[in-house]
Structure formats: C-alpha cells, structure tokens
C-alpha cells in the first residue's frame, strides 16, 4: 500500500512531553489528544498537518515517558507514518502496539527536507522523495514485531493467546 503526503521535520531527541504534554493526559481519546500533538514543541504545531502526512524526525524520537498517549496523539492528529533516524525503545514498542507504523532510516534521514512530498510503502519500507526523485529504504521490521503486526496488533495477539 502506497501512502502519499508531505514531510514535517522535527529535530533530534523529541521527547514524549513534546509530543503530548502531561496536562493533556487526563483523557485517552485519540481525537482529543491529536489536537495537542507536538504542542510541547510548538503550540499549534498540528495545524500544519494534512491528513496522512508524515512526521520526519532525527535521532531517538519518542524518548522519555512510557505514555502510550504519544503514538495515540500522533495517530489522532492524522499522521500516517513516522520516519526517523532512530527511536526510543518504549515508544517503538508502543507504536506497533497502537498500529502506528514507524520507519527507521538512520543517516538517510538527511535526504528528506521539510515539506518534501513523499510516497511511502510501509510493507517494503521504500520511501520515494518526489522532490528529488531519490528512494530511501528503511530497515526491515524485526521478525517478532512483524508477527505482532500480522496478528493485527498486540490486542489481537493477546486475544488469540487467551482463546487458544
């Protein structure tokens, strides 16, 4: 499946307090959390997003707290995929569990600029930058994470185990 949208660049070590500040953690509603997505980086940041756009980040995206509200807020804001140099561990695990696809591309992240139109294939991990015509390939998803994705996320994975 190919997804198209624009790249929105954020920096390195973007923490979960930046993604969704603590005062908003009094709800679990995706739409409500989505309204405040990246507010800890810049108030009103989410208003630049069109549905299906991409967050493009530097190193260690999602560091900090274990709040699952972070991937939920990103999904709630309408982002389809996050592309980063690398991810913090808890955020990485949470995103797969919540059904937010992440692509990890290492140093190739520098080949994407703010506003670039991208075409992303989350199955093959191919990212086409339509401005430059270049294609970047993301690192493959670890087999165990793939199993969870194949089961339709962790909720279904556990459901299958409970009924087995």
């Amino acid at each position: 499946m190919k997804l198209t949208g624009a790249a929105h660049l954020v920096g390195e070590h973007i923490d979960t307090d930046a993604i969704i500040p603590a005062p908003y953690l009094v709800t679990t509603d995706p739409a409500e959390l989505g309204k405040h997505c990246m507010e800890g980086l810049e108030p009103g940041w989410n208003t630049r997003l069109a549905k299906g756009d991409f967050i493009v980040a530097g190193r260690n995206f999602g560091c900090g707290s274990s709040r699952e509200h972070a991937p939920v807020a990103i999904l709630g804001a309408g982002v389809s995929v996050v592309i980063a140099h690398s991810y913090a561990r808890i955020f990485y695990r949470n995103s797969f569990n919540m059904g937010l696809p992440l692509l990890e591309v290492g140093d190739d992240i520098s080949r994407i600029q703010d506003g670039d139109p991208l075409e992303v294939d989350i199955v093959t991990g191919q990212i086409l930058n339509k401005r430059t015509g270049e294609t970047i390939t993301a690192q493959p998803v670890p087999p165990f994470m793939q199993e969870i994705l194949n089961a339709g996320g962790l909720v279904n994975y556990v459901k299958q185990r409970l009924t087995a």
Binding site: A22, T28, C63, R89, I90, R93, F144, V158
Partner: protein
C-alpha cells in the same frame, strides 16, 4: 544455576523467569513477570486495552499494582474521573495493591518500601521509571499501557535480551557528592540515547558503598540514557533491605565472570564535584563550580520524586536547610515520596526544619515533577529539582527551565536564590 554461556545481570535475571535458554543479546524471549504496575495516567489506557483483548480476569490479583500517584490528590475533574475508572476496575478484579488515598505514594518509592519488588524479580510497569527497581537487582522496565495490559492478562511478556554497558565506578566521594551526581555524570557521558535498547549494569567500590536507596536513585535514571534497565548486583545490603521490607529473596545475585559486555565505562568518582543537568536534556551535565560562576537565579526548588524523595534525600536537604531560611524569591516545595517517608520525616523533626526554613511541605505526589500540579512554572521561570527530567516545558510553561540536581544542591539553591555549591553557604 550455571549456564553454558556467561551471563550479564540482565541475562541472568531474564533467564530465571524464562523457559527458553538465553544464549546471547538480541534474542527474543518470553518471561514470567513477578509484578505488573500502572498508574493514574497509564492504567486507564491499559484497562481499555485489557477489555479489548477480551480478558476476563488479571493473571494474579496479588501481582498487579495500581498506584494513583501522578495527579494525587486529583487535580481536576478529568483526573478524578480517570481515577474513578481505575478504582472500579480494581474493585471488580479484587486487586490487592490499589493505592489512592492516604496509603498512596510515588509508585517507585512505594513499591520497594512495601516489599512488592526485590532481588530476582522481573517487573514491568506502564511508567518509564519502573527501571528504579534495578537498584534492588530486579529486572524492571517501562512499557506502554497495551503491553502492560497483555502482561496483566497473561502474566508474561516478551523481551529482547539487551546488550549491556558495564559502568565501573571507584573512588571515594567528596562531601556533597552522592548517587544523584554519579548518575548525572554517567548520563553526561553516555548521552540521552547512549544506552538505547541496552541495559546499564553498575559495579565497583563506590557502588558497593552506596546505600540501597542510593542505588535506586541511580537505577531510576537509566531511562534518561535511553536504557531498558539499570542494574545493580544483589549483595548483603540488598538482601538486608529486602528482608526489612518483607520481600522473600535470600540469594545474592552477581553477574557471571566473563559476562559479555558491549562496552565498559569507568568513572573515577573521587574526582567528581556535585553535578547539575542543565536545560533541556538530562545529558547536558556540568559541574556546580562552573555553574555557580554564572549566578543562575532560581524561582523554585523541588525536593521529592521517585528519584530523590526518600528519607535519606530529605535528611540531606534538611542538613542544609537547618537554621537557614529559604530566600524570599524562591518557592521551595518538599514532597516526601510516600506516607511512610512523610511520617518518618515528621518523627525525625525534618518537617519542622523545612517549615522553619520557609519551605512548602506537600503530600506524597508526583505533582510538579511532570508539570502536573503543586508547583507549576510560569513563562521565563526557572527551577532546580531533584527529579529526573528537564525536557522543555516539563514543569510548566514551554519557556520555563529545569535544572536537575541532588537534594543538597536543590536545598542550597533555595537558600541562596541561585545555583551554588552547598559548601559556599
């Protein structure tokens, strides 16, 4: 138990909870968990996922802890509603370890005190500072709510066996230098993602000399280096702590000789001055001597949290504040981390010292640590705090600043109105 391959502490602890043979880092293993934890922010999402999974009951009602500590006492209607939902779930599931009222404290200070975590345990919590229990030689790590819901339903979870960075710390600490300075210095060396996907394991003479509480202060901040766990061996001190708090562990736990470390960091503790993490990342660490020259004025000093809200932290702060006054321009907020610590501080006269100095003594709560309540910063305000994160906006307005330090430095700054070496007061 002897293994075919030498094990790091992380491998050893995971092995004891798994039926699969652990051969190397990177392997994915399923492990039984000894305790599953969630708080007032993360439990509501975990319960939502638990229901969606179609789970009827938790795997063991004595092995789930729900601690309503972040916004306690509930700061507004929305947080009260969240807690009500968790309370109803706890009642329905007959959860033994549910804490909300006068028995509630900051989760990572509360659970060790209650003997619910200890040497050899595998603990998962929907809170990133679950790694605190590594100070007691438990393999403990933070996860998201849905992972925690899975663990609550199944009594097990999966882990990627982490690589380990071994941190060897030797040397005698100078006055006013302690566990917090050691961990801030370590994070300054590794960077905030230096231990990403890895475990930190601590050893050496300085570590052996630290109290178990001090080790928990250090393990607490392993996540600030990106680490999955921060582990200390279980020695005689750890076992004495476990016994005193009613935990069943009786065996020392050490890494195997020749364990496969990914990297070794050595720290000469004798040469360290008190350390401060400057805005806006915990690895932006500098010595206090250098900072004092810059006369960094603070509006607030926070002494508490899961990092430094234990009794020895309060004693350390009180030693500085005794007979002195908090500067008129500073709010000094002291939050003993649990009701027990609060009572002990009362008995020891520490609370009196704080009140006479002009501090604000509050209830056990996370409160300002995450910008929740009880000490929020205005635009342009600056705080020094014994907490663990100084991300942009963590304690209030996006244009406020947080400096992280030990209790003695936070107390000294409250008196001086700026960041100073306590010896200079």
């Amino acid at each position: 138990m002897r293994h075919a391959v030498a094990h790091t502490l992380a491998m050893k602890l995971l092995q004891a909870a798994s039926d699969e043979v652990i051969k190397e880092a990177g392997q994915i293993v399923r492990c039984r968990v000894s305790l599953v934890l969630a708080n007032d922010i993360t439990a509501p999402l975990a319960i939502k996922s638990f229901r969606k999974m179609g789970a009827a009951t938790v795997f063991d009602k004595t092995k789930v802890a729900l601690v309503m500590d972040h916004f306690t006492p509930n700061k507004d209607i929305a947080s009260a509603e969240q807690v009500r939902g968790v309370r109803e779930f706890a009642q329905e599931q007959d959860i033994l370890h549910y804490y909300e009222g006068g028995d509630c404290g900051v989760e990572h200070a509360l659970l060790p005190e209650l003997g619910l975590v200890g040497p050899g345990d595998v603990v998962v919590g929907a809170d990133s500072h679950t790694c605190t229990y590594g100070g007691l030689c438990a393999f403990a790590t933070g996860m998201g709510s849905t992972d925690i819901a899975g663990a609550m339903a199944l009594g097990e979870t999966w882990f990627k066996v982490p690589q380990t960075i071994y941190v060897q710390i030797d040397g005698e600490l100078a006055p006013y230098v302690g566990a917090k300075d050691l961990i801030l210095h370590t994070i300054g060396k590794t960077g905030v993602d230096g231990a990403r996907y890895k475990a930190l394991e601590f050893g050496g003479g300085t570590v052996a000399a630290l109290s178990v509480e001090g080790r928990m202060t250090m393990a607490n901040m392993a996540i600030e280096a990106g680490g999955k766990a921060g582990l200390f061996p279980a020695d005689a001190k750890t076992l004495a702590y476990a016994k005193a708090h009613g935990h069943a562990a009786t065996q020392e736990i050490w890494p195997d000789a020749g364990a496969p470390y990914d990297e070794i960091i050595t720290i000469d503790a004798g040469s360290l001055s008190p350390q401060v993490a400057c805005p806006h990342l915990p690895d932006n660490v500098r010595g206090v001597d250098e900072l004092a020259a810059e006369h960094i004025v603070v509006n607030q000093s926070v002494i508490g949290s899961c990092t430094n809200g234990r009794i020895e932290d309060l004693r350390e702060a009180a030693a500085i504040l005794k007979g002195r006054k908090v500067k008129k321009t500073v709010r000094c907020v002291v939050l003993p981390a649990t009701p027990n610590i609060w009572t002990q501080a009362l008995r020891e006269g520490l609370l009196e010292t704080f009140m006479e100095a002009g501090c604000i003594v509050g209830p056990p709560t996370c409160g300002p640590c995450l910008g929740g309540h009880m000490g929020i910063l205005a635009k342009g305000e600056r705080a020094i705090a014994t907490t663990n994160r100084n991300f942009k906006g963590r304690m209030g307005h996006l244009e406020s600043e947080v400096y992280l330090s030990s209790p003695s430095l936070a107390a000294a700054a409250a008196v001086a109105g700026e960041i100073v070496h306590p010896a200079s007061l």
